[in-house]
């Protein structure tokens, strides 16, 4: 099981390293979205709940770009058949894909969050960086799990991009909600407030429950 996951993960990361298809697009998209927010809100700097909202909405939409690309190579090149023929547990695919998306999101945030601090954020980023990283990591887990599930659900359909957006947005509303509420005190002017524990708990529980649901149903998406 572990070696299968490692092999799949290595394949995904090599593929992305060679093609550079998803991650650069996601990074560019998030920076473009900041510019759009700057003009849309007509603000030079954002603070507190507005900052949290802008950051997480941008990351969510960038993540949807990545989710759209997730199973495309498998679908078009017949990778699913190869995987199903191999005598391995199908859950390995779920874990590998979710981990890949998690890594993509982390890499995107390595660029997108400093860019956000540079372009829009009012208070300095350094004041609450460790807590912010914690919120980002929990959010990434949630987006990765839900995203893998949604991408698996939508890959065989004709209107793939449409279905992914329509499904992922409502399913990720609780994640965005909890993440923005948790991050709001971190991005206040005049020093970071304490990290609200109940929102972190909600994020963690949501991640855990959706991981279980995905584990339960993902096998059915791969039978063909």
């Amino acid at each position: 099981m572990r070696s299968t996951v490692a092999a799949l993960l290595a394949k995904e990361l090599t593929l992305e390293w060679r093609t550079r298809e998803a991650v650069p697009a996601m990074v560019l998209f998030s920076i473009a979205t900041y510019v759009v927010f700057h003009f849309g809100l007509d603000r030079d700097r954002v603070v507190g709940d507005l900052a949290a909202g802008v950051l997480w909405v941008t990351l969510l939409f960038a993540a949807i770009l990545g989710i759209n690309r997730m199973f495309v190579a498998e679908h078009e090149q017949g990778g699913f058949d190869g995987f199903l023929l191999a005598p391995v547990d199908r859950t390995a695919m779920l874990i590998a894909k979710a981990t890949t998306l998690f890594c993509f999101l982390c890499v995107v945030e390595l660029v997108a969050v400093p860019a956000f601090a540079l372009l829009l954020l009012g208070p300095p980023l350094t004041q609450a960086l460790p807590q912010l990283v914690l919120v980002l990591l929990l959010t990434n887990v949630g987006i990765a799990v839900v995203g893998t599930l949604v991408a698996g659900l939508a890959i065989q359909t004709r209107a793939r991009d449409l279905i992914v957006s329509l499904l992922a947005l409502p399913l990720l509303v609780p994640v965005v909600l909890a993440a923005t509420r948790a991050a709001t005190p971190l991005l206040q002017d005049g020093g970071a407030g304490a990290l609200p524990g109940n929102w972190m708990a909600i994020l963690a529980i949501y991640d855990l429950l959706f991981a279980l649901i995905a584990y339960a149903v993902f096998d059915f998406l791969l039978e063909d």
Partner: protein, 227 residues
């Protein structure tokens, strides 16, 4: 039953002190919302049965439950808006967990048909729709819990009122209305199932009469499950 409930609503239940006549919409709105949510979860349970047994009848039941729940959900959103306009003065109130979470659930389930339509193969369609129904069914209570924590309460709390905040006459009317709405839901489910069976039988017989074996005599596009 529902008629009886409506009779009780209009002639028996006392007028609310604060809200007056408008409060009567409570007896339609709340049972409808509860039945729709339970319907979504039941649809998810049927989908689990479908994934376990692979019998298309479970897919059909899940489809019908979700179908009717979405129709009820439209009714809930409309009556809820009317009630909100009357008692709070706005058609839509954002800091209201019930409204928001119901809207999110509704938006999610509205994707059920695009998903079904987008899959050609019937077997695959049924399987994917079931996976969707399971995920969405589990999402319903989760979403309510999350959104509920996010906002402070001004919604008239149904749970608390059933527990004892409601005067007995109102409580009786509410229970009758809830039972009536549930029975309506079950009846409609049975009716739609029967209608789908009949349509399918008719089509099969007609095909046999016409003597052609191909499946391409379907008229119109439908994403409903076939038996």
């Amino acid at each position: 039953m529902l008629t009886g409930a409506f009779a009780l609503v209009f002639f028996y239940a006392p007028l609310d002190v604060d809200q007056g006549f408008v409060q009567k919409i409570f007896y339609v709105h709340v049972p409808m919302a509860l039945v729709a949510l339970v319907g979504f979860i039941v649809g998810g349970a049927f989908a689990v049965m479908h994934l376990r047994t692979r019998e298309s009848k479970w897919d059909m039941r899940s489809y019908v439950a979700i179908h009717l729940s979405v129709i009820l959900a439209v009714g809930v959103l409309v009556t809820g808006s009317i009630w909100a306009r009357a008692s709070w003065g706005h058609w839509w109130v954002w800091d209201e967990p019930m409204l928001v979470s119901f809207l999110i659930v509704f938006l999610l389930y509205a994707t059920y048909w695009p998903l079904r339509f987008a899959l050609e193969d019937k077997e695959k369609q049924a399987r994917y729709a079931s996976v969707f129904a399971v995920v969405a069914g589990a999402f319903v209570p989760l979403n309510f819990a999350a959104v509920r924590m996010a906002e402070q309460y001004i919604h008239p709390q149904t749970g608390a009122t059933i527990a004892g905040g409601l005067p007995p006459k109102m409580a009786l009317t509410f229970v009758v209305a809830l039972a009536g709405m549930s029975l309506l839901f079950v009846t409609l489910c049975k009716y739609e199932l029967a209608s789908k069976h009949a349509t399918y039988r008719l089509r099969a017989l007609r095909r046999r009469l016409a003597g052609d074996d191909d499946e391409l005599t379907l008229t119109g596009r439908s994403a409903a499950p076939q038996l």
